[in-house]
């Protein structure tokens, strides 16, 4: 059969069939491109719409929005610094706990665990990620916060109370609770991605180390971890990206106070929480614009963090999947 692309001496019937086939293919390609275009349009529309509705606040406050601490809907003075602070501190605290745990768990699953144990443990870690945020919040209010209030915070306060980090009345809810809940929620993501990164490290690296007489741990440390280092950093960043945007669980345990306080016992507020709490009641256009500007800020920060994270993870090798989140 002659190739239709060259159109060489085709019978009329074949020519018609070829034309029909080409049309079919062309339509198909157009449909697919439209779908791709729609996806593109969606993201662009998201960013554009947020920018447009945030304009009144951007015009009114400019750069000061990022560095002022006053959030006063009555006087229509809006400064997002307390929320930025709250988001950063709670996420940082979460990273402090989650990165060692997450990478440690990943190392166990990828390198050190007995093979029969790996699938069930990996499955359970994935299930932790499947628990909805509101359920974590529920558990946070009724289990974690009382625990912190009754045991942990008084203990920390009496032993390390000279540090400004551990001063103030033990509410139970507050920055510490938010950081811990975020850590719990973020660990499975760090574990999952780190595990993929570690599995993507070529076996030749491991074999070389083992051939030199290294123990399993030494192999991991020398051959795998150092090779996958940038990918692991990427995994940590992905966890950070998640933590920055987490809304419900944090809203339920952070105490909802737009103030910058040094103590971890103090209540705080994050960018995502203020939007969740105040969006339906922003009574003036400026108030709404200010909240959306906070959302825009969050949008930009999470994109930057996630973008950087993916670059680092991809640098380990194309086989690494980040799809499942």
């Amino acid at each position: 059969m002659e190739s239709t692309a060259h159109g060489l001496s085709l019978t009329p019937l074949a020519r018609t069939r070829a034309a029909r086939v080409n049309v079919g293919d062309r339509i198909f390609r157009v449909v697919l491109r439209l779908a791709a275009g729609a996806l593109l349009l969606l993201v662009v529309a998201l960013a554009a719409e947020m920018l447009r509705t945030a304009v009144p606040a951007i015009q009114r406050f400019g750069w000061r929005f990022l560095v002022t601490s006053v959030w006063d809907p009555v006087a229509e003075q809006f400064g997002a610094l307390p929320f930025v602070y709250g988001t950063l501190v709670s996420s940082f605290l979460a990273m402090l706990i989650a990165v060692p745990l997450g990478i440690g768990a990943a190392v166990y699953l990828a390198e050190l665990a007995p093979p029969w144990l790996r699938p069930p443990v990996a499955f359970l870690v994935e299930l932790v990620a499947a628990v909805p945020s509101v359920v974590y919040g529920l558990w946070g209010i009724f289990v974690l916060a009382p625990l912190l209030r009754t045991w942990v915070q008084p203990a920390l306060g009496s032993t390390l109370g000279f540090l400004p980090l551990f001063q103030g009345p033990p509410y139970g809810v507050g920055m510490l609770a938010a950081g811990i809940i975020l850590a719990i929620m973020v660990v499975p993501f760090i574990t999952a991605v780190s595990r993929e990164v570690l599995l993507a490290v070529p076996n030749s690296q491991r074999e070389a180390a083992l051939a030199l007489g290294a123990t399993r741990w030494e192999t991991t440390r020398l051959a795998v971890l150092s090779y996958g280092r940038s990918g692991l950093i990427g995994a940590g960043l992905l966890g950070l990206g998640r933590a920055l945007g987490e809304t419900m669980a944090v809203t339920m345990v952070i105490g909802n106070r737009p103030e910058i306080a040094l103590s971890l016992f103090a209540p705080g507020y994050t960018m995502a929480s203020v939007i969740a709490n105040e969006f339906t009641e922003a009574t003036s256009d400026l108030y709404l614009a200010a909240l959306i500007e906070v959302g825009l800020l969050l949008f930009v920060v999470t994109i930057a963090v996630n973008g950087l994270a993916r670059l680092l993870v991809w640098s380990i090798g194309g086989a690494v999947k980040v799809a499942r989140e």
């Binding site: 791709a36 996806l39 719409e49 947020m50 768990a105 628990v131 499975p188 123990t215 339920m252 994109i303």
Partner: protein, 280 residues
């Protein structure tokens, strides 16, 4: 370091990392235990069939919230799946040069956007023009959240279909678009369904974007253009209230929600277990 010392370090690190894995799983056990302990008593027939009672009256259930969640997720899937699967097929099959890269990048960008920001988007796109909160707005928000997951999974799965199948079909003279629709997609179908289930499990538990789109409803839904109840919303409202009866119902609701999510996740897992070589 001595050989002995190195062996000790090896064991210690093995233990520490095992501990890390255990700590990562511990919250799951704790939460599940608490849900069962606190909520199991409130999960009864009334819970599944009754509407919420007014403040102060005992009893009532979350029937409308459970149905509402099912409707929202179903509608979101209806909106998001076609676009997502087509997008994934595009990324896998297209021979364009730059557009696929841009689309892939943007899909990744979208997957990192906090769900509350997507809720703002749905508010501006659907609630404001329609002048009311609606199930449709909620579904749109959830669909946008589902999209990146479906797109990426579809792309992966389509790529994994062996080229030998493609080549055989093409060699028989089947036009390319038919090859994709009739050969490639059916082969990848199970994996795509898995991806879809993962996406569904993810959005079933979303609360933040529904706060100002679906809004919540104490009664049965009255149509897609009206506010609708949803399980996560109801749990949130009951959790922050001071009534003990509502707290127990919140635990029960959480138990039902987590049950639904886990069942779907489990089913997705089982579907891929060893079914397709090369398909993870």
């Amino acid at each position: 370091m001595t050989a002995r010392g190195r062996r000790v370090v090896n064991h210690v690190m093995g233990g520490l990392t095992a501990l890390a894995a255990g700590l990562a799983i511990l919250p799951l056990v704790l939460i599940f235990a608490f849900l069962l302990f606190q909520g199991a008593s409130a999960v009864n027939v009334e819970f599944f069939t009754h509407l919420p009672k007014p403040v102060g009256e005992e009893g009532g259930g979350m029937a409308n919230a459970i149905v509402g969640s099912l409707i929202l997720v179903g509608l979101a899937a209806g909106l998001g799946l076609p676009l997502g699967i087509l997008g994934g097929v595009y990324l896998a099959e297209s021979r364009d040069r730059r557009l696929p890269w841009i689309v892939r990048f943007l899909a990744d960008v979208l997957s990192g956007v906090p769900s509350i920001v997507i809720g703002i988007f749905a508010y501006a796109l659907v609630v404001l023009p329609m002048r009311r909160f609606s199930a449709l707005a909620g579904a749109v928000a959830l669909a946008v959240i589902m999209l990146p997951i479906v797109v990426r999974t579809s792309e992966e799965l389509v790529r994994l279909v062996p080229s030998s199948l493609r080549e055989a079909a093409l060699a028989l003279g089947i036009p390319e678009w038919k090859v994709v629709l009739r050969v490639v997609l059916p082969t990848a179908r199970a994996g795509i369904i898995t991806g879809v289930m993962v996406a569904i499990a993810r959005v079933a538990g979303e609360t933040a974007p529904l706060l100002f789109t679906a809004f919540g409803n104490r009664f049965w839904h009255q149509g897609l253009d009206q506010p609708i109840a949803a399980l996560p919303l109801q749990i949130f409202a009951y959790a922050i209230a001071p009534y003990d009866d509502w707290h127990r119902q919140a635990w029960a609701g959480a138990l039902v929600l987590i049950g639904m999510v886990f069942v779907v996740s489990l089913a997705a897992r089982v579907a891929t277990r060893g079914r397709f070589s090369g398909v993870r």
